[in-house]
Symmetry: C2
């Protein structure tokens, strides 16, 4: 049974790394003290070691030990044996490229579908969707494909931002970008605002956190869903 | 001799399409009354026809006629015979994908290097750089490569945005994104603010418009250059 948290962000303003969501992580990982961290997204280009240290420090506060996937000689075997997995944020292109290079996407998808608890934040959440076509990141490397884990039947847009009223900047709003996406693709997109997350338990998908989420369906007017709403309806697509 | 305008944006706040730059366009296209418009970037997903109509209307005010590249049976021949080319903004992934599909990148690069006047705005400017790795757009389609025209020896970041003071949004700033780019790539990046453009005449590259531009070189602290500065120094790289 799937047991997944897909979080918009690792860190909300004025709070420490993962702090806002630690209570839910204790539940997610209740059956393990050991978590494998996938540091491939390298926020600001930091090293796998430096990034893993940040995850280690946060999980220590709830009594969990963390090991970076890069520390294993055989990362595929490590993921198959993992009791819990966490993929951190950073650059989705860098993350997906490294996952393809190491041939790990299928393995992660399989073990998470079989029940290994999984947490994704930001880029680590993007890859839970069908594709990474709705990432906000800059395409600083060229991955062999934009196809991702497909753990949910839609795409994720993390760090979802509402249009800024009276902005003089002429760049596209997030909503415009997602509308452009739907000129070329048909799957729904969930805009997850900062501090929101999706809780996936088996076939149940629930919005958590204090804020609403914005849903973009193909050929429909975008709409809001309230926290604690169920997103299974999107399974029909 | 190259004769190119690489503009951050087509439209500055409170002004009509291309209005702020029409005077320079009269100079750029002084030897032709006919311009071929490449509408492939499809802003907000609009059709090639609808987009071409917008360009037609703007150029009519300076007495130039515009024909969309999609109106030609043989787009490659059309570009070879063009007296002036304009590539509009929209989504860089969509633009580059269509240019590869129609096998046009080499042709555009050749004719522009030989002197066909070229205007790019936003996505149409991104492709003037060595690669599209520094676009701000959402990767809504998967192009066969991120390599672009290489008309200048660096990458462009159009719509360059300074960090917003006191923002509570935890997404990456533009500067952070470009720094991440330099963990994986070495070419310089020119952050062009709204209303700025580069004027390329032969080997001379000059910053125009009222604002400074921000230069990101590999392993160097980013720095500002004043309007009318020359960017040939970046040719050394």
């Amino acid at each position: 049974m799937k047991n997944i948290i897909i979080a918009s962000t690792s860190t909300v303003h004025g709070s420490g790394y993962l702090e806002y969501i630690l209570e839910s992580l204790e539940v997610l990982y209740k059956n393990t003290d050991e978590i494998i961290f996938i540091p491939y997204a390298r926020p600001s280009g930091i090293s796998h070691n430096a990034y893993t240290d940040i995850a280690k420090k946060a999980f220590k506060t709830i009594g969990k030990s963390v090991k970076g996937l890069h520390e294993f000689k055989d990362p595929k075997a490590a993921l198959k044996n993992a009791k819990g997995i966490f993929t951190g944020g950073g650059n989705t292109f860098v993350l997906v490229n490294q996952l393809y290079t190491n041939n790990l996407l299928k393995t992660i998808s399989n073990v998470v579908k079989e029940g290994t608890p999984y947490l994704g934040t930001s880029a680590g959440s993007n890859i839970c969707g069908l594709t990474m076509h709705t990432t906000n990141d800059m395409p600083i490397v060229y991955p062999p494909s934009f196809k991702t884990l497909g753990l949910v039947p839609f795409n994720i847009n993390p760090h979802y931002l509402d249009p800024i009223t009276n902005s003089k900047h002429m760049g596209e709003t997030r909503e415009t970008r997602i509308k452009e996406f739907h000129k070329f693709n048909t799957q729904p997109v969930i805009g997850l605002r900062e501090g929101s997350w999706l809780e996936v338990k088996g076939s149940s998908i629930t919005l958590k956190g204090n804020l609403k989420a914005r849903i973009f369906e193909y050929n429909k007017t975008p709409y809001e869903i309230a926290t604690n709403s169920n997103l299974e309806l999107l399974n029909r697509l």
